[in-house]
């Protein structure tokens, strides 16, 4: 797949966690970028990120650079390229030929006022408010200030006809969950189409990261998506360490991986319980609710915080685990996993539960591939995609976690895959805690002081939902000129919308829970 074809636009080749000088990234024309991306996607590559950034060579900031990051999961390589485009300009949309670009292009259009011509569904993504300086300059230049967009207020896709009706859910929900708006086009109980509108949680994190890193950056990372604190913090730290050229001790890498897998264990277990709850199957629901807490408490045993805040730090980890504590953790882990096993077995042996899960919310492998789904949602549809295997980082370069896949792509596949991953993650954690590498837990502070200047680095981490991608571009002082965060939810929300096609509207909660996507991870 890495064969360079005749006339194929050249992209910079790299790997996750490697630093590339900006000068080495080819500056293409928009047509070349488009052709290059489509060509590679057609050959099986995946669009990791497509985003706009201020063109550093251009002082008044009128120009924008479009960055494309593609991953070849078989080779474990990444390809990068950029193309300049004027702010307020336009380019031929990739989406008609490459559906996985759809949300990225909407985001670019929203952030940089660049129109992807031919985009089939061009709408705002996050409804950002203009920054204070932008508001000022707008009011100085024009007398009539354009009013700020109101989240969720826009036209929705509509199906019309006899007996077709529309159901709107959210953004305020009956449960204590994050805000999101769901529009169903229904015919009786059957869903024709679901449109998901988010943006209620937009905080402007990416904008706040520019000019960094500083003392606040790691805290932004830990709160990008609360249930993925360790995942996002790890992605950031690996990126930073690569840019600084710091050598992180093996013990720290191992502890990070332990925390990441504990995060996976806690969330997967919690979701199995939540799925059981949504179909009214109480035993598994109650037990998994408690067991999720047990895994969170294991994380707290390391760092004092149940979500792992304060654990992953640039250069290493903030806390060490002495042998007695490690042994105690293994004991508690074994007890919790045994309990999850019996709670899950109850569910898998209950015909009434299986009849709800099977054939509900099916996403075909082809659709999952075209939409560029990541994580367990992709693996449940039969795609062999796991960053731990495809682009291993840290301790995963030495210890492999087997990739689990299912083929039916329904709620059952996504639920059962969680269970398979629980077992494999538990084995991994046990193994790591039993044989933590010797040595320190932090790289020397001075080794993190300066970042590579005029460089770009991509860091990929398999969080519990799927691939977390962080891309940083540094300026001539070694500060972040652009920082792009792609949460797995950003790829997967479209998968949920697709899963609901031709389903019963009453099955929406279990479909939703089987994906369990993040609102704030998407909204940033």
């Amino acid at each position: 797949m890495s064969v360079v074809r005749e006339g194929r636009p050249r992209f910079a080749q790299t790997r996750a966690g490697r630093v590339v000088a900006r000068a080495a990234v080819p500056l293409l024309s928009l047509e070349e970028l488009r052709a290059g991306v489509l060509d590679r996607v057609a050959a099986g590559a995946r669009l990791v990120a497509l985003f706009g950034a201020r063109d550093a060579r251009d002082a008044p900031c009128a120009a924008v650079e479009l960055w494309a990051v593609l991953a070849d999961d078989h080779e474990g390589t990444l390809e990068l390229a950029t193309a300049p485009v004027a702010r307020g300009g336009s380019f031929a949309a990739l989406t008609p030929d490459c559906p996985q670009a759809h949300l990225f292009e909407r985001e670019i259009a929203e952030q940089w006022q660049i129109t992807p011509i031919g985009h089939p569904w061009l709408k705002p993504v996050r409804f950002p408010r203009a920054s204070a300086s932008e508001r000022e300059s707008a009011s100085a230049s024009a007398s009539a200030t354009p009013s700020a967009p109101v989240v969720g207020v826009m036209d929705y896709y509509r199906v019309e006809g006899e007996e077709v009706h529309e159901v709107a859910v959210g953004p305020v929900h009956a449960g204590v969950i994050e805000p999101g708006h769901f529009r169903f086009q229904c015919h009786g109980e059957e869903v024709f189409h679901l449109e998901i509108s988010l943006g209620y949680q937009h905080r402007g994190v990416e904008r706040a990261l520019l000019g960094g890193p500083d003392k606040r950056t790691i805290h932004y990372m830990e709160t990008l998506a609360g249930d993925t604190s360790v995942g996002h913090a790890s992605a950031y730290c690996h990126l930073l360490e690569a840019l600084a050229g710091a050598r992180v001790p093996g013990r720290a890498l191992s502890l990070r991986a332990v925390a990441l897998e504990l995060e996976r264990l806690a969330n997967h277990t919690g979701d199995l319980g939540a799925l059981a709850n949504d179909v009214g199957y109480l035993p598994t629901a109650s037990y998994c609710g408690r067991l999720r807490g047990d895994f969170l408490n294991l994380t707290a045993t390391i760092c004092g915080n149940r979500f792992g805040r304060g654990l992953v730090r640039p250069g290493g980890v903030g806390f060490d685990v002495e042998p007695e504590r490690a042994a105690d953790m293994v004991r508690r882990l074994d007890a919790a996993v045994a309990d999850v096993e019996s709670a899950a077995d109850l569910m898998w042996s209950s015909a009434s539960v299986l009849s709800r899960f099977e054939n509900a919310g099916r996403v075909a492998e082809e659709a999952a591939f075209e939409l560029g789904l990541v994580g367990f949602a992709a693996r449940a549809s039969g795609l062999y995609r796991d960053v731990r295997h495809d682009h291993p980082w840290g301790i995963y370069r030495f210890t492999k976690v087997p990739v689990s896949t299912m083929h039916s792509g329904d709620v059952f596949a996504r639920a059962y895959l969680r269970w398979l991953e629980i077992r494999r993650s538990a084995r991994f954690v046990r193994e790591q805690l039993g044989a933590l590498p010797r040595g320190g837990t932090r790289a020397a502070n001075e080794s993190l002081a300066t970042l590579a200047k005029q460089s770009v680095c991509v860091s990929l981490i398999e969080g519990w939902r799927g691939e977390i991608a962080h891309v940083a571009v540094t300026d001539e002082r070694g500060r972040f000129a652009a920082y792009k965060v792609v949460d797995p939810s950003f790829h997967n929300w479209a998968g949920l919308a697709l899963a609901l096609r031709d389903q019963q509207i009453s099955d929406f909660p279990i479909c939703n829970k089987s994906f369990d996507l993040s609102y704030c991870g998407h909204d940033l």
Binding site: E189, L282, P283, S286, Y287, S352, R356, A360, D507, P509
Partner: protein
């Protein structure tokens, strides 16, 4: 039927129903390894709701307010017709079983109308579901009744479920077993229990009964809950009397037996809810048709 029995009948109807919910919830909690809410939680909830104020949407009319009240009164009135154990009913006349069935239909009509009155998509969806499923539950109830009518030659519930029931079990037990099973299904559907509906869910899109009353608040919502509890109690009394056709002749024992039967039924509902997931919405009609068929077979068995 003595005046004491009538007074007791009315008193039990008004006081006992919320206790059933407490027993069901305790059973479910025991299965889940939790302590669960207090046995009397439903009473506390009702007391709290009746002290509260109400909020009414500007789009609603008197229909919205009438819904819960009609449903409550209909259920309480229906309770007068059903015999509690062997002690008979407070009110009986020829053909009262028809009134019994249609009192529930009346309550349902007003609940659905109140739901549609809000103009909310959710409530409309819930109303559609409730109407669809009750169309199928009603024949199951009537066919079950027809078995009893044929066996006893009476169309009054007090006589149908009267003293001769023990003898009927000896003669046509097979038919009665089918009727009990069918009525049990009707009970679970009508009272929105698992596997048909989940009274505890917070997921609007999956609700049947709960979604219709989302807009009710305060005392009116209290009336909804109270009415639902009475409905459960009444249908439960029907099933319990059918399944426990024992007449001791001593009032205290009869009442005790009835109470034990009701508690047993509540525990059975709790166990069902604990070991089963909800059915897919699409499969509910099939099960209801199954219940109709069961009752119909009960009649066929008698016709031989």
């Amino acid at each position: 039927m003595s005046i004491v029995d009538v007074a007791l009948h009315v008193l039990v109807t008004l006081v006992a129903p919320p206790l059933l919910l407490g027993v069901i919830n305790k059973t479910k909690a025991a299965f889940a390894g939790r302590v669960g809410p207090p046995l009397l939680q439903a009473y506390f909830d009702l007391a709290r709701l009746f002290r509260k104020g109400s909020v009414f949407s500007a789009t609603t009319t008197w229909v919205f307010r009438a819904g819960p009240i009609v449903a409550l009164v209909a259920a309480a009135f229906a309770a007068m017709i059903v015999p509690y154990g062997a002690r008979g009913a407070a009110l009986s006349f020829a053909g009262d079983m028809i009134l019994f069935a249609y009192l529930f239909a009346l309550g349902r009509f007003f609940t659905v109308a109140a739901a549609l009155d809000t103009g909310s998509a959710f409530e409309g969806m819930g109303g559609a579901r409730e109407a669809t499923f009750s169309v199928l539950a009603e024949p199951a109830l009537f066919l079950g009744m027809m078995v009893l009518v044929r066996l006893t030659g009476s169309s009054s519930l007090a006589t149908m479920l009267g003293g001769g029931l023990g003898g009927l079990w000896a003669r046509s037990g097979a038919s009665l077993v089918m009727v009990v099973a069918s009525l049990l299904v009707v009970l679970l559907v009508e009272c929105s229990r698992i596997p048909f509906d989940d009274p505890n869910t917070h997921l609007e899109l999956t609700m049947i009964h709960e979604v219709m009353v989302l807009d009710h608040s305060g005392p009116l919502f209290g009336a909804v809950l109270y009415g639902a509890a009475i409905k459960l109690f009444v249908l439960g009394a029907l099933v319990v009397r059918l399944a426990l056709p024992i007449d001791t002749g001593v009032a205290v024992y009869d009442w005790g037996l009835f109470a034990a039967g009701m508690l047993g039924l509540a525990v059975a509902i709790g166990v069902t809810e604990s070991v089963m997931a909800r059915l897919r919405m699409r499969q509910i009609p099939s099960l209801l048709v199954g219940a109709c068929l069961l009752s119909a077979f009960g009649i066929v068995l008698l016709a031989r």
